[in-house]
């Protein structure tokens, strides 16, 4: 699926938190979250910026992700290659990722040397180099990354569906952007973007692992508190049009040169942390989590219409998407797959799940807790993502919210949000043959409406 939101749809959570979280605010507005846990001599340090592709103007499409690459190409103190060299010498790991709502930088280091991550982050927050030669070389890398995605039929299909689901909002664009905009982007534009969003007032620092919380806070202050706050988010963030839902189901279609018959259905949904967000997590688990889930059971195992099926509630800051992906079995008729899917979705909208079914869903959600927070980095990521997109307490409380969703709420949420007239249905079919839509619906090209 096109956005890095997978972890949000899963409950981490437990009745007892995986670590006690302390929240602090530095004088320049930077938020610091510290979670001590001592099971391993390891510390995860993550710095989250409230900026992603949703903050980009059309001509900047892809700048958030490209800037994330450039953050490894040198700053005042740590020049090009130094971040990786130091991390490597310390036996640690680093990485970064960009979504439509946030950009995050991650270090995992042994607990006797984790502070180096703070030095590096403070340096590139304060004085990023953005050398033109490095910028041009890295643009080639980003264009190759984009080409890699273009060779993936699932990625192509979900991007096509997403651009049909959101007609105005920047959520319609892939996070990596488009080649034409990337080729035109200048260093000056990237620098302006970095200035607007990369400062303490727009950042959350997460320190999780084998640390003394008081020492961790003191070190965070030492490295970041002298940095200027920067423009307010409201000032930096450009105007963007609100999305007005398009009435009527839309169908889109593309072709690929293999035998796959891939189906992607998407509905517009709600923001992270809302009551419907929790209900959609239950819906997703009910539909496709585990062999006994409704759609796995019927479509994959009983009727063998699909070889795989999955759903994901991809809630974001300014709305979300509920995704359903299915790969049609070779011997099955895609129309039959869609018909049976529709039957199951209609049942979901009409009848509350049984007590037994809901008990299974709750058991699955509760049991996943242990795996969700096994390492310091697992918990740091969860904490930072919720903190940036909604509220960090959801990292601890979301399981309780999800377990409190009752059968009626499941049905009502599905009836409101997963109605057929709100969705986009996308098929990717072999170049030679195109499956027909179910007879009660007309096939239509991209963007067309019934």
């Amino acid at each position: 699926m096109p956005h890095k939101h997978a972890s949000k749809s899963k409950p981490s959570a437990s009745h007892s938190a995986p670590a006690k979280v302390r929240e602090h605010h530095l004088a320049n507005g930077m938020r610091v979250l510290i979670a001590a846990r001592h099971s391993d001599p390891v510390v995860a340090v993550m710095l989250w910026y409230r900026v992603g592709s949703r903050n980009e103007r059309e001509h900047e499409a892809g700048v958030s992700h490209f800037l994330e690459h450039m953050m490894f190409k040198g700053a005042e103190r740590f020049g090009k290659g130094e971040i990786d060299r130091l991390t490597t010498m310390l036996g640690g790991s680093n990485n970064a990722f960009t979504s439509c709502d946030h950009t995050a930088y991650w270090f995992e280091l042994a607990s006797d040397r984790w502070e180096k991550a703070l030095e590096i982050e403070a340096d590139r927050m304060r004085a990023l180099a953005l050398e033109p030669a490095e910028f041009n070389a890295e643009r080639e890398v980003v264009l190759e990354e984009l080409s890699m995605g273009l060779d993936d039929p699932w990625r192509r299909l979900t991007e096509l569906v997403q651009s049909t689901l959101f007609l105005r909002h920047p959520y319609r664009r892939p996070v990596i952007g488009h080649a034409d905009a990337l080729k035109r982007l200048s260093v000056a534009q990237m620098r302006d973007y970095w200035r607007r969003f990369y400062h303490p007032g727009n950042a959350t620092l997460v320190i999780c692992g084998d640390v003394d919380p008081a020492v961790a806070l003191e070190r965070a202050r030492a490295h970041f508190e002298a940095l200027p706050r920067g423009a307010s988010y409201e000032e930096a963030d450009p105007f963007r049009p609100a999305e007005t839902p398009e009435p009527g189901q839309r169908r889109v279609e593309m072709h690929w040169d293999d035998q796959g018959k891939r189906l992607c259905i998407a509905w517009p949904t709600v923001s992270v942390g809302t009551p419907d967000d929790h209900a959609l997590d239950v819906v997703s688990t009910l539909l496709t989590a585990g062999r006994l889930s409704r759609l796995q059971d019927r479509l994959v195992y009983e009727e063998e219409l699909a070889t795989s099926i999955s759903t994901q509630s991809d809630t974001r800051v300014e709305g979300g998407v509920f995704w359903l992906l299915a790969e049609c079995a070779q011997n099955a008729d895609p129309r039959e797959l869609e018909r049976v899917l529709d039957e199951e979705l209609e049942r979901l909208r009409r009848e509350p799940p049984s007590a037994k079914e809901l008990a299974r869903v709750r058991a699955v959600l509760r049991a996943s807790e242990a795996f969700e927070n096994e390492t310091a980095s697992d918990f740091a990521e969860r904490l930072g993502e919720y903190a940036t997109d909604a509220h960090w307490k959801l990292a601890i409380e979301s399981l309780e919210h999800v377990l409190a969703v009752d059968a009626k709420a499941v049905r009502d949420c599905a009836a409101r949000l997963l109605a057929p007239e709100r969705r986009v249905v996308g098929w990717c079919t072999p170049k030679a043959a195109t499956p027909k839509a179910p007879s009660r619906r007309k096939n239509a090209r991209r963007g067309a409406k019934r």
């Binding site: 070389a137 080409s147 040169d257 293999d258 795996f371």
Partner: protein
């Protein structure tokens, strides 16, 4: 704080208790008191090397069918136990792995044991699972990355099973029937070929007691010898899987080394300098990605595939067709450079510090610990291997790296497989470059 302070002090201690179960299987247990999960890894010697001719995929499908029925339990009943206890069990061509939330460890271990000893291979499940595999193989026929990898292994290993995918081919899987899986399990899933490792917050003796009982009916069978494989000599060979795509997947390399090779530790360090070090610290990423902007994904490695049998030196890049010759030349140039010039002290220190320092970070997950225990047992590593390893790596010199690069890298005898919009003549021309 000095960047290089103390990496040699980061020692991972993995206490292991060993048992030989009554059935003949070896069991290793490492207790990890606060772990929220328990992980089990069972390795079974043989795997898809034991597929009957024409029935490739036999071991793979046998492993995949384990959770589709066992003892008196149906597939649905197995799923019910797992889904409500936060457990997962996955059968493979050469063993099985399982994990569970710590509080349900006994339920999931009991179930894993039942799946190992008494799978029922229900006919309808065999048919549907085989069909799902056939569907996957059909799609993979047109998937350039999969086909590039397949061609690369064929160029290196020829017709030997080491060059084959465990999943088999569309044609061979289509021939598989229930009787083939039953026979494979009966012949090859035997206790004396198994190493089982368990890591979690449980007393080792309790794990041993449970598995001893649960596996008591497991057929002991016979151990399996490892015949030395006859493999094609190293030589320049090329192959192309043509496909209309944005990128070309390029696999360059040659036959590699065994895990037991005494040069293995020096090769680990060499790999980190050449093509496996994180980020832009390795030479091929620095040169081909960072300086030339050829690719998002590029790496090279010889130690990762070293096993009981020789693995492969593999250099991979995904890049546009016009950049393929420069990429191939770049790989060859870096292979020669590490043979011709001693590695600089600073570069070597970075690689060694990473190899030693990253131990502490790479053993956080119970599954990783279980996996390591199996590896250590299979290759005869001593129990204090993790404690001794830092000293072994710290002692490696520039001369060691140059010596093993000369001994084990063969830039003059590389195969190249490529998948995408590219001609074979382009590969040959690039390989001929000096």
């Amino acid at each position: 704080m000095s960047a290089r302070a103390g990496t040699a002090d980061l020692v991972v201690r993995l206490p292991i208790e060993r048992f030989t179960l009554e059935c003949g299987a070896r069991l290793l247990v490492s207790q990890r008191r606060d772990a929220p999960v328990i992980a089990l890894q069972m390795h079974l010697r043989g795997g898809h090397s034991l597929d009957e001719p024409g029935l490739e995929g036999q071991a793979y499908l046998t492993g995949g069918l384990l959770d589709q029925g066992a003892g008196k339990r149906s597939e649905e009943e197995i799923a019910e136990v797992l889904e409500t206890s936060g457990g997962s069990i996955s059968g493979e061509s050469n063993g099985l792995s399982a994990a569970a939330a710590a509080e349900r460890w006994d339920t999931v271990l009991e179930l894993a044991a039942e799946l190992i000893c008494a799978p029922t291979f229900p006919a309808d499940k065999v048919r549907s699972q085989r069909q799902r595999l056939l569907d996957r193989l059909l799609l993979e026929r047109d998937e350039p990355r999969v086909q590039g990898d397949r061609l690369f292994k064929q160029l290196i290993y020829g017709d030997h099973w080491l060059g084959r995918s465990a999943a088999g081919t569309y044609e061979s899987v289509a021939r598989l029937e229930r009787k083939h899986l039953v026979a494979f399990h009966r012949r090859n899933w035997v206790a004396r070929r198994a190493v089982i490792a368990v890591c979690g917050p449980v007393e080792p003796s309790r794990v041993a007691k449970l598995l001893d009982r649960a596996l008591r009916r497991w057929t002991p069978g016979e151990e399996l010898p490892y015949p030395t494989p006859e493999l094609p000599p190293r030589a320049v060979r090329t192959a192309v899987f043509p496909a209309e795509r944005e990128q070309v997947h390029v696999f360059l390399g040659h036959l590699g080394v065994r895990r037991a090779d005494p040069d293995y530790p020096a090769l680990v360090v060499m790999d980190h300098v050449l093509g496996a070090g994180p980020g832009f610290t390795n030479r091929v990423a620095m040169r081909l990605r960072d300086e030339l902007g050829l690719a998002y994904t590029v790496h090279a490695n010889i130690h990762g595939s070293a096993g009981v049998h020789p693995g492969a030196f593999t250099a991979y890049i995904g890049t546009s067709a016009s950049k393929v010759p420069v990429a191939i030349e770049g790989f060859l140039r870096e292979m020669r450079r590490i043979q011709d010039e001693p590695v600089g002290d600073a570069e070597l220190a970075t690689a060694k510090d990473y190899v030693v320092g990253s131990f502490a970070l790479s053993f956080q997950r119970a599954a990783r610990r279980a996996n390591f225990m199996v590896t250590a047992e299979r290759f005869g590593l001593p129990d204090d291997h993790l404690e001794r390893a830092p000293k072994v790596y710290a002692a490696i010199t520039p001369e060691d790296v140059q010596r093993v690069a000369r001994a084990h890298l063969h830039p003059q005898a590389c195969v190249v497989a490529a998948a995408g919009p590219i001609r074979e003549s382009t590969l040959r021309k690039a390989l001929a470059s000096k």
